[in-house]
């Protein structure tokens, strides 16, 4: 197990082009191959990591207590835990990331690592350097859940979510986050339904295509031969339709699907940051009240507590404001990119399919 020192310099690799190039399935475990480019330009790091290593990284990022205002950071969200032969519940949780042969998952993982390695505060963590460059796996002991995880589910903390804010900016941010998180989640789920149905249609077309081959009749009879020829050609048509559907579904997943999924998870991350700040606000207000009401004997101690809370709270607000601005810009760019790519890919698929169907049509028209 390696010692992790905080406050070190940024990692020795480029953050913007980290790649997850491979996923190896061994029994129940998925192992990802992560490739990053050395800053010095002298080569690459290839490391193998499993999901537990991600959790290790996240834990260390969360526990940087000596970084002022760390609680104001919107932590890039890690994807849900992948599972080989996933149950229906796990599949639902994974959503788009559970589709295909884990390619969407790898892309999401890539996104996460790039965000962490490029984040002005987070990239400085030694844990990032170790994760990306160490040939040995980072420490794999079970990480204890700290207050950064699943905050909103903590009983008793829940009622703080509605705690009125002192700052208009943050109140507005919280309100907007609440509305848009619901909408995005809903849109993501519905889009996933569309993709799943497209896949079903592709499978049905495959069946129809195969069934047509059974209708081919042997024999010299010209009418029989003509009918057989029709069946074969029609089978090809449905193969084309199948390919078109699969392509459409894939385009949906790899662009807008991933985009909506990331957006959805990031909005949850923002929500958690805002909640942490709200909790801190509640704490501060309690500390102020305690300091006011304190008997002279305890007064000095309470004032200390109050001052500490104020300082921390101000740090958090400072960081939070920056984070929100950064996030807003990043998300618009990300969604735009997703929408443009989505549109371009679908356009390409549609053009290819139109050509193919047209060819089939000419083929049929030309039949005697």
């Amino acid at each position: 197990m390696e010692e992790v020192q905080e406050g070190a310099s940024a990692p020795s690799v480029h953050g913007h082009n980290i790649k997850v190039t491979e996923v190896v399935i061994d029994g129940d475990t998925l192992t990802f191959l992560i490739v990053s480019q050395k800053l010095s330009g002298t080569g690459e790091y290839h490391v193998y990591r499993i999901y537990e290593d991600l959790e290790w990284l996240q834990h260390h990022l969360f526990s940087q207590e000596d970084v002022p205002g760390i609680q104001g950071v919107i932590f890039p969200p890690i994807p849900a835990k992948p599972q080989v032969n996933a149950s229906a519940k796990v599949m639902k949780q994974l959503g788009f990331l559970g589709l295909g042969e884990w390619q969407p998952y790898c892309k999401a993982l890539e996104s996460f690592l790039r965000q962490v390695a490029s984040h002005s505060v987070l990239k400085k963590s030694k844990a990032v350097e170790i994760f990306l460059t160490s040939a040995d796996p980072p420490g794999r002991q079970r990480v204890r859940k700290n207050i950064f995880n699943r905050l909103s589910q903590a009983v008793g903390e829940m009622r703080k979510e509605g705690h009125k804010d002192v700052d208009e900016f943050f109140q507005a941010a919280r309100d907007q986050n609440l509305i848009i998180t619901g909408c995005t989640k809903s849109a993501t789920e519905r889009f996933l339904d569309v993709v799943l149905t497209e896949q079903k249609i592709a499978v049905a077309c495959g069946h129809f295509s195969a069934a047509l081959h059974l209708c081919v009749e042997a024999g010299e009879d010209p009418d029989k031969q003509a009918f057989s020829s029709i069946c074969v050609k029609l089978s090809e048509v449905f193969e084309s339709i199948k390919k078109n559907m699969m392509s459409t579904a894939e385009n949906n997943v790899s662009t807008l699907g991933l985009g909506l999924d990331l957006e959805s998870r990031y909005q949850e991350a923002e929500k958690e940051m805002l909640f942490r700040r709200t909790c801190k606000l509640a704490e501060l207000e309690t500390a102020r009240r305690n300091a006011e009401k304190a008997k002279p004997v305890k007064k000095a101690a309470m004032e200390e507590v109050k001052k500490a809370a104020e300082t921390e709270f101000n740090h958090i607000c400072g960081v939070a404001k920056q984070e929100i601005a950064r996030y807003e810009a990043a998300r618009v760019q990300m969604l735009q990119q997703a929408l443009v790519q989505w549109c371009e890919k679908q356009l390409l698929t549609a053009r290819e399919s139109a050509d193919q169907f047209d060819q089939c049509l000419q083929g049929f028209r030309g039949m005697a």
Binding site: F208, R351, F357
Partner: protein, 532 residues
């Protein structure tokens, strides 16, 4: 009147009252009936003099046009063949003719029976007269052969403008049938009539009773549907009843086109009357001889025949091979049909899901603060709505184009199989007559040595009659075999044409959908690019 003429009538062979009595309207002395003892279809004549007991004797040609009269007023219903079909009880067509109806006397008289839509005999095929042995002269069929060679078929029928007539459970849908043709058989080049569903069923029942048993593949009529029709009657104006009406309209159109494309059926006077006459007498008894009912009858008879183990000495390998071929085709078509139905189901699901996604995208656009992104998301919602419409259209194409085509062919194959069964029954009848002749000959030989000149003469007369019947049986068998060969060949040619036409139509719709999609994406791209 004292005794009931119909229940007083008995089948000579089995000495019992017939199960189902069908009477020819062109030749009122010709009847067809079912005997419960052998479940076979008998034909013959009865000399009817009202109020007297008479016997139904086997005689004459087996295939005159017939009509259904049921014997059901006395005692419990006897027509077991029809009662187990609940659908028939709710058919749109009216009730069977009951014995107590005033029509009965008209039926039993010698004249034509106008109250029941008369079946006009096919002019080129059948000469309506008892004892006319040369019904199927070679010449008349050769004529038909020549005309079949002419490939350019200039006739188009469209069924349109469904209109509800009446109210409540007596309501029905009337359709406009428009014919455009340059065939000289018709007086005008373009004309239309209004028909209701039971009219189509009536037409089919007439054609089926005239042609199925002599080997013609009569296109089956569209299926009835109690649920679908009840909704329409009750006035439920929702999507499913609209879909039902459209499905039916399309099916009726295909049915008519298939029927008129058949060179023999086209010339049938009942078909001509259906297409041309502005006032069609209301079809009764269509429930009894509905497409489904008739095919059930055929199938039940076939089953009964098989149970009696007709080991037909198939001298013609062609028939054996073809029969197997149609069995296989039946299985494959049903598989294909099921496959397409599944596809249609998924497409409809896709449409629903796309619409829901469009809605949630719209909501997302509304909640979005960033102006340009908000606009792009709203545009996205609109694009998805349009795509949803495309999915619906595609689902309709899948359905109406493919699914219905395959369904039609599954039903057609049933008719084809029925025709093969009729051939077997024809063979069986011929064989039976031959065996009977043999027995009579043996009996006659014995009588030679007795001194009973009367009986001997009677025996000789019977033998002579039977010899004639045997010859006729053989002729009928040869004729039906010949007809079936031609019909199968025609079926296989039509099948190729049918499928090809449908597939081209489908591909055209596919191409169009893709081109529409391209337009939508093209329009959306600049919106997406303009976000920041």
């Amino acid at each position: 009147m004292e005794s009931d003429p119909i229940t007083a009538v008995k089948c000579q062979e089995h000495s019992e009252a017939p199960q189902k009595l069908l009477r020819s309207s062109s030749c009122s002395l010709q009847w067809m009936w079912f005997c419960s003892s052998d479940l076979d279809l008998h034909t013959g004549s009865v000399c009817v003099v009202l109020h007297q007991k008479e016997f139904l004797t086997e005689s004459g040609p087996a295939s005159l046009p017939a009509e259904d009269i049921s014997t059901n007023s006395n005692g419990p219903k006897q027509d077991s063949l029809f009662d187990d079909d609940p659908e028939d009880l709710f058919a749109e067509a009216t009730e069977e003719v009951s014995l107590d109806s005033p029509e009965r006397e008209v039926l039993l008289s010698d004249g034509p029976s106008p109250a029941i839509t008369p079946i006009t005999p096919p002019t080129s095929v059948i000469t309506p007269c008892i004892g006319h042995d040369d019904m199927f002269t070679h010449s008349s069929f050769d004529e038909i052969e020549e005309e079949e060679v002419d490939d350019s078929f200039d006739m188009n029928i469209s069924v349109s403008d469904p209109e509800k007539v009446g109210d409540g459970m007596n309501a029905y849908m009337a359709y406009k049938v428009t014919i455009k043709t340059s065939i000289s058989l018709f007086k005008r080049e373009e004309f239309s009539v209004r028909r209701r569903f039971s009219d189509f069923l009536g037409l089919h029942s007439k054609l089926a009773s005239k042609y199925l048993h002599i080997g013609f593949i009569v296109p089956p009529a569209p299926e009835k549907s109690i649920v679908g029709m009840t909704k329409v009657k009750v006035g439920k104006e929702d999507q499913s009843s609209n879909e039902f009406v459209e499905k039916r309209r399309s099916a009726l159109e295909r049915y008519l086109m298939r029927t008129v494309k058949h060179p023999v059926l086209l010339k049938d006077p009942d078909v001509l009357q259906f297409l041309e006459s502005s006032d069609l007498p209301r079809a009764v008894s269509t429930q009894a001889l509905s497409s489904a009912g008739l095919l059930r009858m055929v199938n039940k008879a076939a089953e009964a025949v098989n149970k009696m183990t007709i080991k037909m000495n198939e001298s013609d390998a062609w028939f054996e091979e073809k029969q197997q071929h149609f069995e296989n085709l039946d299985v494959q078509l049903r598989k294909l049909h099921a496959s397409v139905e599944s596809l249609v189901c998924h497409r409809k699901e896709l449409s629903v899901n796309t619409a829901q996604f469009a809605k949630s995208a719209a909501m997302l656009g509304n909640s979005e603060d960033h102006t340009a992104l908000s606009r792009a998301l709203s545009q996205l919602a609109e694009v998805e709505e349009k795509i949803d419409q495309l999915h619906q259209d595609q689902a309709n194409a899948d359905f109406y184009v493919f699914s219905e085509l395959l369904g039609d062919y599954v039903r057609l194959i049933t008719a084809v199989k029925g025709v093969f069964d009729h051939r077997m029954k024809t063979w069986q009848k011929w064989q039976d007559t031959q065996m009977l002749l043999q027995k009579k000959r043996e009996a006659e030989a014995k009588l030679q040595f007795t001194n009973k000149p009367d009986k001997l003469q009677q025996a000789k007369d019977e033998i002579q009659e039977l010899e004639g019947k045997v010859q006729q049986g053989e002729r009928e068998f040869e004729q039906i075999s010949k007809t079936i060969r031609k019909e199968v060949s025609r079926f296989e040619k039509e099948r190729v044409k049918d499928f090809k036409t449908i597939i081209i139509k489908y591909l055209e719709s596919l191409v169009q959908t893709q081109q529409q999609l391209i337009k939508y994406w093209d329009a959306f791209l600049p919106e997406a690019k303009a976000i920041s």
